[in-house]
């Protein structure tokens, strides 16, 4: 069965309205998407129907209150510059994306691994199963890694990715986005998400972005253009801070 964009839009509007009403009636804000968001059709058979089972953080021996660690051996010098990984300059608009990795108390998460991956400037992934008939760029793969510094800061140099079509419904297009994978100090803080660019006209039509029904939470997925981060005659600068959810291990001052 094929779905028209208008069907998907109507379904998204209904879920948005229901969320807004619940919020106005005093329900707590929902920062993450629900796993059963029907307009994103791949979610239908892939979300649990039973409630999650709580594990309370009281037990310090809970394995998930610690997490994997990474170090300088896990990244190479050029891993955070996606424009120099091949013999020539990739096509597209060069950008610098920078921000801080923080926990919910605003404390920097230091020395942790941030990975990203993205489509090229024409909206094509360097992935065999991406069938979008847009050109591959021999000078761009679109995968990068870095470790956060002592202030929790990260920086990537890359290319602004293009929008691309997908098969959720007829004429479905994803707004331009960069996929991020982030580790905290505890496995419970693990996060995989996507960063968007300001003022994209595709936002209202995208069931993945709109699966985050909380409007303020949705805005936290959109980077901010920062002229100070733009580099003269080189790249446009975007700032995007990432805040990790989930219980963290006991904070050790000056640790990590």
């Amino acid at each position: 069965m094929t779905h028209a964009q208008s069907d998907i839009d109507t379904a998204m509007d209904e879920l948005q309205h229901a969320y807004d009403e619940a919020l106005a009636a005093g329900a707590p804000a929902r920062h993450h998407p629900r796993r059963d968001y029907a307009p994103y059709r791949s979610s239908l058979l892939r979300h649990p129907k039973r409630p999650l089972v709580p594990v309370t953080g009281g037990d310090p021996e809970t394995v998930e209150l610690s997490g994997p660690v990474f170090g300088p051996t896990d990244v190479t010098e050029t891993d955070n510059d996606l424009t120099v990984q091949h013999g020539g300059e990739p096509l597209g608009e060069r950008i610098t994306v920078s921000g801080r990795l923080l926990d919910r108390a605003g404390r920097p998460v230091r020395g942790q691994l941030i990975e990203l991956w993205q489509a090229n400037a024409s909206g094509r992934y360097a992935h065999l199963r991406d069938q979008h008939p847009a050109p591959l760029d021999p000078h761009f793969t679109g995968a990068g890694r870095t470790l956060t510094d002592d202030e929790g800061r990260y920086t990537f140099t890359t290319i602004k990715p293009g929008a691309y079509p997908w098969r959720n419904h007829t004429n479905a297009w994803r707004p331009a986005h960069i996929h991020f994978s982030v580790f905290g100090t505890a496995f419970t803080q693990r996060l995989v998400t996507q960063m968007y660019f300001p003022n994209d006209p595709l936002f209202p039509h995208d069931p993945i972005l709109r699966s985050v029904t909380d409007r303020a939470a949705r805005e936290r997925l959109v980077a901010t253009y920062r002229h100070e981060l733009s580099r003269p005659e080189f790249s446009l600068g975007y700032e995007w801070d990432i805040v990790l959810d989930g219980p963290a291990a006991t904070w050790i001052e000056e640790g990590r």
């Binding site: 920062h31 993450h32 998407p33 796993r35 968001y37 994103y40 979610s43 239908l44 058979l45 892939r46 979300h47 649990p48 129907k49 039973r50 999650l52 089972v53 709580p54 594990v55 953080g57 021996e61 394995v63 998930e64 997490g67 990474f70 051996t73 896990d74 990244v75 190479t76 010098e77 050029t78 990984q85 919910r104 108390a105 605003g106 691994l113 990975e115 990203l116 991956w117 992934y125 992935h127 199963r129 991406d130 995968a143 996929h179 496995f187 419970t188 693990r190 995989v192 998400t193 993945i208 699966s211 909380d214 303020a216 997925l221 990432i242 805040v243 990790l244 959810d245 989930g246 219980p247």
Partner: protein, 187 residues
Amino acid sequence: MAETFLPTPSHTVGPFYGYALPFPEGEQIAPKGHPDTIVLHGYVLDGHGDPVPDALLEFWQAAPDGSLTGAPGSLRRDPVTGGHLGRNGTDFTGFGRVATDADGHYALHTLQPGNAGPPYISVCVFARGLLHHLFTRAYLADGADPLLDSVERERRATLLARPGENRSYRFDIRLQGEGETVFLEFT
């Protein structure tokens, strides 16, 4: 702890992480050739019982001596070529990452975790269609345990990996429906 910063929402890993996230020897937490190596393996299945061929699983566990400090070097790189060197062959990083294959199958080679109580490996599940990852645990033995004891009797088995031949343990993950795996929420 004051929680003044609001969290960045989760999103699905999507279908195209394959050239970015998996890394050579991601499934080999055990040092190469270690005589005590065990294999945790199984299938990821959707609500129709069909295999999920594009799931990404991550594993985190205590070292055999019980330590939870981990070690860097899971994704060790070659600074000269920029390629992946694989793990250094001795350090136990405690972290593994495996994409399911076309049959929805995964296999992790590791050592027995030495955590207090029944040994378990923590599992984080990502997939296209899964807007927010899921946590579960693969227990390698049954026993008194705060989580195991808190779930209903008929669901407890979904957290228990079944010992098989050649030091293997079978642990299937059912995302939905009959025999749905117990997934966890850390509070």
